[in-house]
């Protein structure tokens, strides 16, 4: 793995860290959920109504308790993932309510789309897990959506996945269902198997729903991403340092709460901070500021000794065009080369998280493959890799195409594109189709040839029984 580069000096880190602690101590942060307020009171923090004022030493002491890395367990142990350290985890986009088609069409996302994106992630060698809420399946009732989504991840792949954080009850359902899959609550307490996303509401708030989710995951020892999305210029200051201080304060407060509830609970420091488009007020994510926030967050995670979530194949484009490509590459590359460990939204996102696109998924999958290769860097560990002998053998003026050494090494040393066109002009012009159209053919081909890994029928039965029972209760 390549060494990670920094975007902040130690002095800048210190200044922002102090600024964040001052925000938490003097301005305070609002937790709307009463059980969370009780936790802070019990830990001797000053509370006024729903606003909590956190003591700086207490915050540092609590954040210290969070582990530097943890293992997330999959039903197939080959897909277990270490989150933290030098590792990087890629997965599909999260939470988009719409699907944009190759021809520019827009429609509500459905459960069928959900299954398809899980399968595409299952099939991809670049996606390490199948993610969570890969789209919002708007054709499924709210009450049972979380169960249907979890089921899709369970049967369509054997990789790790994410659970619901939408309130205490739904979160608990996802955790219990995962426990059924893994053989009991005791098993997943020992070996965490479900991770969720908890977001603050910037500036300086956490809502009931997310806090309920946070408490369920903390109580059961399941990991979670604690993330803040500061829209610099609207939900946060227009200065980079100010917005980062605000984000950092929110994430630290969330992490503090998890460690109060259950010390040692695995947490991931999360950032999706970006800027506001000052003409329209909309979020804008495909830009250098987002890349900088992402890299700075990776650096802060190293500073606090916790894994980091950030970045992704992020863009403001509405279709798979050049903008979608260059913006996505910038943000994913920045995240990956500066030490982000958990990359939600690696593949599929268009228009600042509003939509998923099958074609964009394939483009991002290609970008992910390229970045993963880049991260491997140079291998200088053996004479074979240094290739002196073969250089000597060919000598001046020869070529390497017919050397055994070449045939043996190029497949592992070179990135092999799955989507990019490297043909001559004549070769390309036979079909003369662009990336968008090639991606469309590609995902259809991948889906058609994908066979989900088998799930033990006895376990499948238990999983289905759990979902059926809960669905009946919830739809009453």
């Amino acid at each position: 793995m390549l060494p990670k580069f920094d975007v902040l000096t130690d002095e800048q880190i210190n200044k922002i860290h102090k600024n964040s602690l001052k925000i938490l101590q003097e301005i305070g942060i609002e937790f709307s959920y009463d059980p969370a307020i009780e936790v802070f009171k019990k830990h001797g923090q000053r509370v006024e109504g729903h606003r909590v004022f956190l003591d700086p030493d207490f915050v540092e002491e609590m954040v210290e308790k969070a582990p530097a890395q943890f293992t997330l367990h999959a039903r197939n142990p080959e897909h277990n993932l270490i989150c933290g350290g030098e590792n990087i985890i890629y997965m599909p986009g999260y939470g988009a309510p719409f699907v944009y088609d190759a021809d520019g069409g827009k429609r509500d996302a459905t459960m069928a789309d959900y299954d398809n994106f899980v399968k595409l992630a299952g099939a991809s060698k670049n996606m390490h897990m199948t993610g969570g809420t890969v789209v919002e399946p708007t054709d499924v009732e709210d009450e049972i959506r979380h169960l249907k989504m979890a089921y899709s991840h369970i049967i369509n792949s054997d990789k790790c996945f994410m659970g619901s954080s939408s309130g205490y009850e739904q979160a608990m359902d996802s955790i219990k269902l995962t426990a059924v899959l893994h053989g009991g609550m005791d098993v997943i307490k020992e070996k965490p198997a479900l991770i969720c996303l908890v977001n603050s509401v910037t500036p300086l708030k956490y809502d009931d729903r997310m806090l309920g989710g946070l408490m369920a995951y903390a109580e059961t020892g399941q990991p979670m991403v604690i993330a803040s999305l500061v829209m610099a210029g609207s939900t946060g200051p227009a200065t980079m340092a100010g917005a980062l201080s605000l984000q950092n304060a929110e994430v630290l407060a969330g992490i503090t709460l998890t460690q109060c509830i259950n010390p040692g609970t695995p947490v991931v420091y999360g950032s999706t901070s970006a800027v506001t488009d000052m003409s329209t007020g909309s979020l804008s994510i495909g830009n250098p500021e987002n890349a900088l926030f992402t890299s700075a967050s990776a650096q802060f995670s190293r500073f606090y000794g916790v894994p980091c979530r950030g970045g992704g194949g992020l863009t403001d484009a509405k279709t798979v065009d050049a903008q979608a490509g260059y913006e996505s590459m910038m943000v994913l590359f920045a995240a990956s080369t500066t030490g982000v460990n958990f990359v939600l939204h690696t593949a599929g996102i268009l228009q600042y998280y509003m939509a998923m696109s099958y074609e964009k998924f394939m483009v991002d999958d290609e970008i992910a493959g390229m970045v993963l290769r880049y991260l491997k860097g140079f291998d200088c560990d053996s004479d074979e890799k240094m290739a002196y002998d073969v250089i000597e053998k060919v000598g001046p003026g020869g070529h390497f195409l017919t050397q055994k050494h070449t045939r043996k090494n190029f497949k592992t040393e070179f990135f092999r594109p799955a989507l990019s066109d490297r043909q001559s002009f004549d070769g390309w012009s036979k079909d003369s189709i662009d990336t968008n159209q090639r991606a469309k053919l590609k995902w259809q081909e991948v889906l058609a040839s994908y066979t989900p890994p088998e799930l033990d029928p006895a376990v499948k039965e238990k999983v289905e029984a759990f979902i059926e029972k809960r669905s009946k209760e919830l739809l009453k």
Partner: protein, 214 residues
Amino acid sequence: MNPIFEEIKDAIVDGDEDLAIELAEKVVAEKIDPVQAVQLGFIKGIEEVGAAWTSGEAFLPDVMMAADAMKAGMDVLEEVLAAGEGEGAYEDKGKIVLGTVEGDIHDIGKNIVGALLTSAGFKVYDIGIDQKAEDFVAKADEVGAKIIAASSLLTTTMKSQKVLVEYLDAQNLRSKYKIIIGGGPTSAKWGEDIGADGWAETADEAVELCKQLM
């Protein structure tokens, strides 16, 4: 022309809320014609900002601060205007009640819509975030609004927009108001599905929609 009108216009263009209040208080204290103050001062200023916005020269902070300054100044003048003082009469382009639906505490998008509606000459009553259907309707009834605008940023709170329409139906008030909706996960189709009178994706489109519905 009284030079204070030009000063009011400049205060709006600069988005200077304190100065707008101060000048409005002066209008009242010195018994300057309030209708002229509105038309030659406040409206002139907001129109100038609106034009700059349309041409892409002004940005959100410019428009939103101008709208805030206008609202603050107009509040000061409300009493003398209502009393019919001054030459002619001032009338807003229509009253709109605006809020974020129950269960949702997202504020910003709604505030942007409010500012742009204000700058387009509408009288906006922002009831805030996490508001129940009955709160929207109570305010609309109180101020005599014609349009109720409901925002939602979450897929989980979109259904509160539906609840609002259903509430009006149940109260036999549906025909009295136009309901418009917006927010990230909403769509034209969702608007049709729940029986809203309109949907807009952006704040600019919301202004156009309100002009059509008034």
